[in-house]
Amino acid sequence: MSAHAWHPIAAARDLPPRHVFHAKLLGQELAVWRADDGFINVWENRCLHRGVRLSIGLNEGQELKCQYHGWRYASRTAGCTYIPAHPEGAPARRIANRIFPVIERHGLIWSALETSPDDLQTSLPPDPLVLREIAIDAPAAIVEPLLAAYDPPGHGPRPIFFIQPTDSESCVIRGVVPEPPPTGALALLRLHDAALCALRDVAEQRPAA
């Protein structure tokens, strides 16, 4: 699992207005939030001041505000813009959080831990049906072969699966159905949900090799 590759970290619907989403990729916790202008921020999930998770902070539209002492960080740059304990003047020195690259595509949000890899290559139509994500308490290497053999009866168009490696012990299956039939989306979601939950049970009972 490469720190240089793109991995899905959320579904687009996980980022409603003024929300901060808590994600994890390869052991790195991320605070993910969509600014009012649509820009998606993927930041290290830690306030630089005293280490509080920014995912419990407030998305104020163009800035994220930390819950502990109200420090504000600007969308895009992640630079600290305001320190309420010293309201006069701008922060004395440059304080900026760590940011990660981001792409929104196919109903998913993608990121990478190391600086921008090449463009995300997928041959998917733009608006697939995004399945509910399935968090699994087993490493990606255990889940991959199970997904390769995934073939629930009567499933119609085959979903495409991406595995989000949250850390070395766990992962999230993110599936999308490229060209969903015009009707029956709900039945399709239910069918895959049940089949993937069964797959999860198998994955979690299998001892790591």
């Binding site: 916790e29 830690r46 630089l48 001041h49 005293r50 280490g51 509080v52 998770r53 419990i56 930390c66 819950q67 502990y68 002492h69 109200g70 320190i83 309420p84 304990a85 010293h86 309201p87 922060p91 004395a92 304080i95």
Partner: protein, 279 residues
Amino acid sequence: MPDPTTANLWHPIAACADTPVGTPQRTTLLDTPITYTLHGEGHATAASSSMLPVLIRYGYIWTSLGTPTADLFDIPEYAEPDRRRFNAASVSVHVSAPRAVENFLDMSHFPFVHTGILGAEPHTEVKEYDVETSAERDEVLATRCRFFQPQPSTAADQGAEVEYVYRVPHPNCAILYKSSVIDETRRDVIGIFVQPVSQERVRAHMLVCVLDDRSDDETIKRFQQTVFGQDKPILENQFPKRLPLDPRAESPVRADRVSIAYRRWLSAKGITYGVIPAA
């Protein structure tokens, strides 16, 4: 293994008022299971694999895994007969002891964490205050700390600029003094005595020792529990859980001078338990 300084400290393990008399109780201190019994009349015993020293002070049972000093730090106000004094709560928190102490010493979170009680926007400024580390008394002291509070205590009807003094006389214990709304010549005293269960888990025992002639005990307790209940989720979302002692590890500002002094004092004491020592 805890460092020698930590092992030789007196640590709080329970409030006497919350401990049934004559029945052995269990707790954990510095990763070590402990059994203790309150025998009544100000006498208690404690043991791990062997008998441990015991002290009863400020309404709490204290013990040590090493060889502690003869007595604990002094809180002279505790002896004043007209004060309301009791344990307001003993709360488990998934954080290190020094992170819990540092939170207790911090004014700048009041408007954001204790909104409408101990602070409110736009009154967010932390004015200049004084910090000293007294070698002779071996404690960190912050004075002239002033902050606007909408509801400083259960005895208050309205907001006021309140003056605080903070004392850290023990690596895991801190005491604050804040202007009394009843008697301007005296100060309310609130202490936090933190029991390190492990390097990243604590029981925080909260002593109140206040001037309040109109609230019952439950009201005073509920006020402190509300305030600490607001701190707990913040503390549990702080990473790393152990306090980094390297001054470059986090980003302090002027308002954090007491935290900087506290971290330096812990470093000088050679404490490694519950912290990330400076390189």
